[in-house]
Amino acid sequence: MVARVARLPNWVAAVLPALLIAALVFGFVKLDPIGSLREVPPVEAIAFERTVLTEGHISLHVRNDGPDPVTIAQVMIDDAYWNHEIGDRTLGRLESTSIDADYPWAAGNPLSIGLVTSTGIVIQHNIEVASLSPSLDGSTLGIYALLGLYIGVIPIAVGLLWFPALRRASQKWLTFFLAFTVGLLVFLLVDTVSEGLDIANQTAAALNGLGVFFIGALLAVSGLAWLSSALDAQRKVTSGLLLAYLIASGIGLHNLGEGLAVGAALTSGEVALGTFLVVGFALHNTTEGLAIVAPLGAEEERPGLRHFVALGAIAGLPTILGAWAGGFAFSPVWGSFAFGIAAGAIAQVIWAISRSMRERAGSGAAVLGFCVGLVAMYATGLLA
């Protein structure tokens, strides 16, 4: 047997296992040997991907995320059958459709939407506090941009202004701040992972949000690792500046996710109010600016202004992009992916900084800096 297989041409040997599994799958689907195990009602599941509330109107985008086809027979709003328009009533696996209903929802009240399937199952979606969804126009885009500016760009730019002070700091203090950066990033990593997993859980089950999250994370880790080694090999930038850019990218990707979450929360009406929170947010993110310039303190030459502008833009502007995307095109699966990328990037940056300060890692300044970084993020979070 072995001898005969060995005599087959190489390409046949390569294709044969694939053909065999294809035949087995075909046979299994055709013969359906486990059909008797499925003599139960179909499993019906629908994911609500997007809910947009405009004056007197509700728009939904839903996806069948169960294994069986689902037919949406009726729509209940606040426990009342309601007139509506729907694209396709019957959705195959992973197919999606939109539903529109004129409904006099009241701002500030809870809102529940139930889809009644042909088998009488009711799939419920609850909005805790109904509020007007932002419409995609210039003024709303402006508000979102302003929001991103306040919580992302400005605090980071302010944080960068610590650079002159860092230039004059002793080696010990520089170690402290670099370790501070690591502490801060570790905090952000934990936060990003927890939020990413949260969003992954909202993803249609069949799309496997968790898998998407980790694919994003691993892509970011390998991508950044490749980028930094490529830049390092070219010796175009100093190691301190390279590190600063890496940190800025990691923080930027994190802020993209943060912007997404803010934008999506605004659109879906999950938001409560409080202007002072923006102030807290700004304080929180100012420390991110400090983190970016920390590795530049020991540079021989002062980097040009353009580098600071670029660093600030890389770290801060994604907040605005994220807020726009989150507000107007949010889907949990892309959210999972974005948070995955952010988590991977931050992990990679933590590793890069830690490696650069390997010989100083055990010093008192480093340990203290790390702890202060963690606590600072936690405390500025509480301030709000």
Binding site: H84, P134, T275
Partner: protein, 331 residues
């Protein structure tokens, strides 16, 4: 503030930013309750689509005025004998457009046929059980213990049959239903129907209707998703009941709703004479709304003076918006 996690923090921060932005740009509308009211005219409650009555095998408009007087004969003493044959069958019925309920039925319809007899008639009702569960017919009325249609007295096993035999009395608006266990399962699945016994003296001429107030727990969570008169949600909204102005209307209203302690009927722009359980020839009350517990049933009589479209519905508004809403089209 210790309990604030970063996610809710983010959300609130986002809102704060939006508000700050609104203040700065001054162009964001705040939705008021009033502006919402302006939209009441659009949309509205109700189901979308139509129920296929042919596939169901019964039409709510026909159920309304269909009375089954049985196979009539006379016994040796000259007394009227009415014979019926009922078969229990399982059937998926469409209770709202596109929404199917796995019903248990008498003769393939929900509610079952409305039995109509005159006080003192001899009734012989054969029940054939063509399902895989035990079933019975328990009549609200006088009968001997052995004819009670409960486990141990006239319960019919799968594939078997039983003949219930008793005199139709007292006169009134009554009902029958399955009394097998578990009880609420057998009732809410659809095993019930009207049982009308006319007084010997008769009643004034009228347009007679049977309205069985029922409900369906389509997802079997102990809460009803569909409410109706005669099974189909919003049936008489999509097709109003045609009646004539000046003509006496007599409705036998029977409540068999499971899970909710009360159901009710309310007529718009009119009042009705209420004959409780239909057991009196003179009205008990003149009103426009009456509440009933399960198995409570009343006969109501009313006349519309003027043509027009008039609502009637449960005055549990939750039920209204889940299907128990109807119209009379008075011509």
């Amino acid at each position: 503030m210790g309990g604030v996690d970063r996610r809710s923090f983010l959300k609130r921060a986002g809102a704060a930013g939006a508000l700050g932005g609104a203040a700065l740009l001054g162009s964001r509308d705040i939705v008021s309750a009033q502006s919402m009211h302006d939209h009441m005219g659009h949309g509205g409650h109700g189901t979308v689509g139509t129920v296929d009555h042919v596939r169901n095998g019964f039409n709510p408009m026909e159920l309304l005025t269909e009375f089954d007087e049985g196979e009539v004969s006379r016994d040796l003493s000259g007394r009227t004998v009415r014979e019926y044959e009922f078969v229990t069958v399982n059937k998926d019925i469409e209770v709202a457009p596109g929404v199917f309920f796995p019903a248990w039925t008498y003769n393939g319809r929900v509610p079952g046929p409305t039995i109509r007899a005159t006080e003192g008639d001899r009734l012989r009702i054969k029940l054939v059980n063509a399902t895989e569960h035990p079933h019975s017919m328990h009549f609200h009325g006088f009968h001997i213990a052995g004819m009670d249609g409960v486990p141990g007295a006239g319960e019919v096993m799968p594939g078997e049959s039983f003949v219930y035999e008793f005199d139709a009395e007292p006169f009134g608006t009554h009902l029958y239903h399955c009394h097998s266990l578990p009880l609420k399962q057998h009732i809410h699945r659809g095993l019930y129907g009207g049982f009308i016994v006319d007084p010997k003296k008769g009643r004034p001429d009228a347009n007679e209707m049977v309205m069985v107030m029922n409900a369906f727990d389509t997802n079997f969570d102990g809460v009803n998703e569909v409410y109706a008169v005669n099974t189909i949600a919003f049936a008489y909204v999509n097709e109003p009941i045609p009646i004539r102005a000046g003509e006496l209307q007599r409705a036998h209203v029977i409540n068999i709703t499971e899970f909710d302690p009360l159901n009710s009927i309310h007529l718009h722009a009119n009042f009705f004479n209420l004959f409780r359980t239909g057991t009196s020839l003179t009205p008990h009350e003149f009103t426009d709304t009456i509440s009933m517990g399960q198995a409570e049933r009343h006969m109501i009589e009313f006349t519309y003076k003027d043509p027009g479209r008039f609502m009637f519905h449960a005055h549990q508004t939750e039920f209204v918006e889940l299907g128990w809403m109807s119209f009379f089209e008075v011509s």
